[in-house]
Each structure stands twice: as C-alpha cells, then as structure tokens.
C-alpha cells in the first residue's frame, strides 16, 4: 500500500481531467440519472491512498472546477469536496486497512455527506431539488468503489 502514496502527479492530473469529462459526457437519460460522481471518487481515492499527492487543496480546486461546469452557486462543490477530503484524509490509515466491502461503506457515507451538503446548500440558496433520484449517484458511486480502487491501485503499482 505504501507505494500508492508515491502516486505520480501525472495520474492525478489525468484522473481529474477524466473525472471532469465523465461528469459532463452526454449519456442516455437513465445512465445520466445513475452517473456516479467520478471526480469525487478521484478525490476520495487520492485522499485515502495518496494524500500527499492529492490532498485538501486538490479537492478544493477540483470542486471549484466542477462548480465552473455545473454549480448552482459558485463554491458549493468546493465546500462539499473539502469536507469529504478532510474526513477521508483524517481516517485514511484506518480506511486503507478495511476490506473492500467495508471501504465501499465508508465511501457510501462520504458520498452521502457530499450529496447532503449540496442538497442543503441548494435549499438555502433557493435551488431546492427534492427528487429522490438525486441520491442515486451515492449508491452507484459506492458500488463502483472496489473496481475504482482496484484500477487505480493497478495503475500506481505499475508506474
């Protein structure tokens, strides 16, 4: 696992660009509804596995980039990403030791927190959206985590 903390910057940049592109790629409506928050998964992965390469500031910048793409209010994703990255970073040594199913649960909690913060900010700023479908990406994101972390682990251990 220690090798992961040497994750190259190149992967960080490539992954976050890919995350941004995937977050805006046109998909059929059904897939669009369940589209996981790829950029947030990148942020969580780096906060847990390689916090020195992609820490808080990276999370904040990624959130701001997402805001530029699709934010209702500038700064909402930035705030939610920073809070999630803080928690992931704070408990990263513990989370790394968890089995995959356990990790998925932690990621589920983090994604839920992110979505809840957005829900809250949207409500305060008058963009409230109470459709239950907004919570779907939380489930798909958590379900994707084992594949995600396996892929990233493979990529970093190769390099």
């Amino acid at each position: 696992m220690n090798r992961a903390s040497d994750a190259p910057r190149a992967l960080l940049y490539a992954a976050s660009l890919l995350g941004l592109v995937l977050s805006a790629l046109p998909l059929p409506h059904v897939l669009d509804l369940i589209r996981p928050d790829f950029l947030l998964l990148v942020v969580i992965w780096f906060a847990v596995m390689a916090p020195r390469a992609g820490g808080l500031l990276f999370a904040w910048l990624a959130g701001l980039a997402l805001d530029a793409f699709r934010g209702q209010v500038l700064g909402e994703h930035a705030l939610a990403f920073v809070v999630v990255a803080y928690l992931a970073h704070r408990f990263h040594l513990r989370v790394r030791m968890f089995p995959l199913t356990h990790q998925s649960l932690v990621v589920f909690a983090l994604l839920w927190l992110h979505q809840f913060l957005l829900f809250w900010i949207d409500g305060v700023t008058g963009h409230a959206l109470t459709d239950w479908a907004r919570w779907l990406p939380v489930i798909t994101g958590a379900a994707l985590w084992p594949v995600w972390t396996g892929l990233f682990g493979r990529l970093t251990s190769r390099s």
Partner: protein, 311 residues
C-alpha cells in the same frame, strides 16, 4: 498542498491540527465565495476566469458529437440535399409572404399606438446560439450555450427557439452561459391565456413535455388547447411570445384549485440552436416625425457589434 517528496521518501502523516486548520480556511473561502456569488449574483472576474478555463474541456466533450454532425453532413447524399433544399425553399417562400403581411401590420400598429399615445413596443435584437452537448445535471433542466458575456449576454435574458419561449439565461461566463429551460422544476414563467387574457404562472415540472399551472382556481376559464403566451410581467420575457398549449384541465370538486397541465411550444428536448433575445425599451418617437418606415427592429443602432437578425 504539500509538495510530493522525492519518490523514495518515507511516508509521514501530516499533523492533524494543520489539516483541520487548512480545512477550516478552505471551507471559509468556499462559503465566502458562495455568499458573494449568491447575494451579488455576479462574481465577474472569478466566473469569467473559471468559465474560460472550463471552456476547452467543454468543447472537448462536445467535439465528438460536433465531429459526427460534420461527418454526416459532409457525406449526405445529393438527393437528400436536393430534397432538403426544396423543402427549405418552400418554407422560405411561405415565410416571406408572412413577413410582408407582418411588416404592414407592424407599421399599422406603430401608427395606432401613436394615436393612442401608448408607449411604443420595445426594440428587440437576437443572436443565434448553439447548445453544447453536455449533461449538466440530470434533474435540472439546464443547457450550456456558446454565447457569453463577450457577446453581451447577461443574467435573465429570454431565450427562444423557432416555436416559442425556451428559457432564460442564468450563470453567464465569458464564452458560454447556462440557460434554465422552462421545464426546470425551479423555473416559472408569467403567462396569459391568449383567448381571454387570464394571467397566471406556468411552472416547470422536470418533464420536458409538461408545464403545470398550479395557481388557477377551480372555476377559472381555461380549456384544453388554449394557447398560453408570455404576459410580460416579471420583465424577463417580452409579452406575447407563445409558451405552451394546455393539454389537460382537471377540476376536482374537493379541491379549490384546478389541475392544469400544458405542453411547451418550444422543442425543449430536441433543439440544437436557440435565439438569445435582447429587449430594449424603444425611445418614444418625436411627435413631429412621421412614423418611420423601417420596420425592422431598431436594434442595430444599439448593438453595432451584433450580427442581428430580425426576430
């Protein structure tokens, strides 16, 4: 962010207090940005910069689709092009005829308004904008168009398509801006029933084929197939633009309000190109001057840069 040490360095966890402090600082900055953006509605420098930075990526996402369009149009067969040409020419003829009548009516309208001492109608100018193929949010009906503050777009401009009202601009960047569609669940447009002038509000439902009119009493005079036009209240949409056609009126005796649904006139989920509309109050004509002949909107003088089209 601590720099990545040389590859062989031992991993040393950073001190937690520093982590918490940095989190707090970043959170405070985010909240500051949010408050400022939400209250002032304009963070011109930051928004413009961010949107300009996001632009290449947005174009990148859009490019395969644009490329496919280009390919399919350059390999279109001759017969199809001919057929398309023919039908377009027919439509153009029809439109020319309609335009002739419209110009006459417009002059007449101007004269009548002058007789009535009424304020002249507002001048309008439009610009064509292309919708970028990006998914912004599945639950919000927003699209990104390729016109930004560089083209004079500001918050709260009406956006139309060939059939009616499409939406309004919200977050404006330098090169692109976001348009809220009529069908967005947080969007509402002041409308009027064309048949009898009844005023109400049409609210989006999250379904691109359905608006709802939640504030009509049970005995309100609305019928299926009534046309709803914008009433001009609220100041975003000029009066008289087609908005939707009523598809369903249900009057439940136990409810004090009727359930009324309408089908938007604009093809909200199929459009690729839309018109952004600028409305400027027209300066009242001096009394001595006869109503000037040019019937085209008096806008070109207002926006010399704009490639204006007649609305």
């Amino acid at each position: 962010m601590p720099a990545l040490r040389e590859p062989g360095a031992r991993y040393a966890p950073p001190r937690v207090s520093a982590l918490g402090l940095r989190t707090l600082v970043l959170c405070a900055i985010s909240i500051g940005i949010m408050v400022f953006d939400h209250r002032q509605h304009e963070l011109p420098v930051i928004r413009a910069g961010l949107s300009a930075a996001a632009w290449p990526l947005q174009v990148l996402v859009n490019s395969p689709f644009a490329g496919w369009d280009w390919l399919s149009s350059s390999f279109a067969t001759r017969s199809r092009l001919l057929a398309e040409n023919e039908s377009l020419r027919a439509t153009a003829r029809e439109n020319d005829l309609r335009l002739l009548r419209l110009e006459g009516t417009e002059q007449e309208n101007l004269r009548l308004r002058e007789l009535l001492n009424a304020a002249p109608r507002d001048a309008e100018s439009t610009k064509l904008a292309t919708i970028l193929r990006l998914d912004l949010d599945p639950l919000r009906h927003r699209v990104l168009i390729d016109r930004g503050s560089r083209d004079g777009v500001v918050r709260g401009l009406a956006v139309l398509d060939g059939h009616g009202v499409f939406g309004q601009t919200s977050n404006v960047g330098l090169l692109a801006s976001e348009v809220i569609l009529l069908s967005d669940p947080t969007h509402a447009v002041p409308v009027q029933v064309e048949r009898n002038g009844l005023r109400t509000v049409a609210v989006g439902t999250g379904d691109p084929r359905r608006l709802t009119l939640p504030y009509l009493p049970r005995n309100a005079d609305v019928r299926v197939d009534d046309l709803l036009v914008s009433s001009g209240l609220g100041g975003v949409f000029p009066a008289g633009l087609p908005v939707a056609r009523i598809t369903e009126v249900r009057r439940d005796p136990s409810q004090s309000l009727a359930t009324v649904n309408a089908d938007p006139a604009a093809a909200l989920d199929r459009d690729r190109e839309v018109l952004v509309l600028w409305v400027k109050p027209r300066v009242p004509l001096p009394a001595s001057e006869p109503p000037a002949a040019p019937t085209g909107p008096a806008a070109p003088a207002d926006k010399p840069r704009a490639k204006d089209r007649k609305p």
